[in-house]
């Protein structure tokens, strides 16, 4: 047994934390960074842009058109193009993923804000809300369920898409797949897939939890409908 291929557990044990950049732990950290930074950036950009698209309706068509084009671009050539600007750094992965996230989140923010009934907005005005307070206390909370639904899509797809970056040496856990490609040995592949799926499930679960905590009124409504 001693000279056969190592079992998956042995392999994990040996590669978990070697202090090298290709240890599982270090790949996992990279993966987390490269998937969560784009989610956060996309949300930070989509919120004001979405607001602007609702405020100035003519902005929405061009913005969503552009975003759809970006979304349609295959990721690999985009990485290649970006290399000439950002080199083989994490930014090369983070930038396109941010745009993909925006392509989903801008429409979500716009739809969410449009889901605020006009009479609700009017009555907020009539009661003396200033525009900023109305946005923060009335419009965004009512838009939250739609935005959070978009965020779930973005989180899962972002976590899974990071691995494509492995082709330029920046794929986080995706790095485990390229290694297997060179050397048909299964444990790294299995570990990579399990970890990525687990990350996606955990992120999604956290967002569902946030949904329940932030929008209890939606759950109450669903309960009433059932």
């Amino acid at each position: 047994m001693g000279d056969g291929p190592p079992s998956i557990w042995e392999w994990i044990g040996r590669n978990w934390d070697t202090g090298r950049v290709d240890s599982i732990k270090s790949l996992l950290t990279d993966h987390l960074t490269m998937s969560f930074v784009p989610i956060l950036l996309a949300l930070l950009v989509a919120l004001p842009l979405g607001l602007a698209c609702v405020r100035w309706r003519w902005l929405y068509q061009p913005t969503s058109g552009l975003m759809n084009v970006v979304y349609a671009l295959p990721s690999l050539p985009v990485f290649m193009l970006l290399i000439s600007v950002t080199g083989l750094s994490q930014a090369t992965v983070i930038i396109p993923l941010t745009f993909y996230g925006m392509a989903v989140l801008i429409p979500a923010v716009v739809d969410g804000l449009n889901s605020v009934p006009d009479h609700v907005r009017q009555s907020a005005v009539a009661m003396g809300f200033t525009p900023l307070r109305r946005l923060l206390l009335v419009e965004l909370p009512i838009a939250a369920p739609v935005v959070l639904a978009g965020l779930r899509v973005v989180a899962v797809s972002s976590i899974s898409l990071v691995s494509v970056g492995a082709l330029i040496g920046q794929g986080g856990l995706g790095g485990l797949f390229t290694r297997a490609y060179q050397n048909p040995f299964l444990p790294p592949v299995i570990v990579g897939i399990v970890l990525i799926v687990a990350l996606a499930l955990i992120a999604d679960g956290l967002l569902v939890l946030a949904q329940r905590l932030l929008t209890p009124w939606v759950r109450a409504r669903k309960g009433a409908a059932a």
Partner: protein, 353 residues
């Protein structure tokens, strides 16, 4: 007091929604703006709290031009109720009602206490406080809307067709409730409706607007019904204007006969009168006994003498084959009978003005 001084609103597309409107809504009274759809009622109302700014003219709130007041500040002092209630779907009922107190910076506990007090005041079960708006019926949501508008105790209340979207029975309840509240609170209320019956029921003063946003007539309901200013107002008031006017004629002067009652189980009927009213020992009506069929009792209708209107008295008379209306006091005890003759005389009197 709210004063419109020759106010005009011209929308950017050129539509003149309100045309040189001059009007006063006196303090502590309900002023109703009524007119067909598109005649500028909503626009007029929203110019008061500056959700829309007037193009020309001025609106004064107790003598102070609203144009000079910062809109959010102005609005926090003016309650506003609309047709769809406009409740916040993401907030519990109690927090919906406490909205303006929160905006005014009251502490949470005080604001919620006030909200609970108001829910009770508008006739809602305090248990509803922890629900969300969609869990309430349309009528309940409207009550919450009224409670919310009253939360910070504003002196002025603007109501834009608040009861138009609920069914007729609920609407009648809400109207009665509003009148009861107003008798306690004495707010300055501007109430918008397209329903002339609602206008006449609720208004201390009724302003009739015509399309194009001009004022056709402003008067108290009785004057409006008896002296419509022109054909437009006459037509808008509808055909049974004469009957409806009777609701403003008191039964105080109605002549009553007290010799037409007989005690329950007693003999009577020898008086030669065709109908006699059978009354219990403590003075409550039981039914009419006819001379022809003394064994059967026929239905009767009552009105409270001096409090109810001639319209109610006439209605009571029409409900009974005797053709007479039974006058009762506030406790429901018979005080007399209004015969057809007496009703006739009173109607002739009313028709004269």
């Amino acid at each position: 007091m709210i004063t419109f001084e020759s106010v005009t609103k011209r929308y950017p597309d050129g539509t003149v929604a309100v045309d040189r409107l001059s009007l006063e809504a006196p303090t502590g009274e309900i002023t109703v703006l009524v007119g067909p759809s598109g005649c500028g009622k909503t626009t007029s109302l929203r110019m008061i709290n500056r959700m829309i700014d007037a193009t020309e003219g001025r609106i004064l709130l107790d003598g102070e031009p609203v144009q000079g007041i910062d809109p959010p500040t102005l609005r926090r002092g003016i309650g506003y109720v609309i047709q769809q209630a406009g409740l916040f779907p993401h907030r519990k009922i109690v927090d919906n009602v406490a909205t303006v107190p929160y905006l005014l910076g009251w502490d949470r506990k005080k604001a919620r206490g006030r909200a609970m007090e108001l829910l009770e005041r508008v006739g809602l079960d305090p248990a509803l406080a922890r629900r969300y708006p969609f869990q309430l019926s349309g009528g309940q949501q409207q009550r919450v809307g009224v409670a919310r508008a009253l939360a910070a105790d504003p002196p002025v209340l603007l109501m834009d067709e608040p009861f138009s979207a609920v069914d007729p029975i609920v609407r009648t309840n809400l109207q009665d409730e509003l009148l009861r509240l107003q008798s306690e609170l004495n707010k300055t209320i501007v109430f918008v409706t397209h329903d002339i019956d609602e206008a006449i029921k609720l208004g201390d003063r009724v302003a009739v607007l015509r399309v194009g946003g001009t004022l056709a007539q402003v008067a108290d309901p009785k004057t409006l019904l008896s002296e419509p200013a022109d054909d437009f107002v006459r037509e808008f008031l509808g055909h049974d204007r004469g009957i409806r006017r009777l609701q403003f004629v008191s039964t105080e002067a109605l002549r009553l006969r007290t010799d037409l009652t007989v005690p329950e189980g007693g003999a009577g009927g020898a008086s030669g009168e065709p109908w006699l009213l059978v009354v219990t020992g403590d003075g409550r009506p039981v039914g009419w006994r006819s001379g022809e069929r003394p064994g059967e009792l026929e239905p009767y209708g009552t009105f409270v003498h001096g409090r109810d209107s001639m319209r109610t008295a006439l209605d009571a008379a029409l409900l009974s084959p005797s053709g007479c209306a039974v006058a009762v006091d506030e406790e429901g005890r018979v005080v007399g009978v209004a015969t057809r003759r007496a009703l006739d005389e009173a109607l002739a009197e009313a028709a004269d003005g």
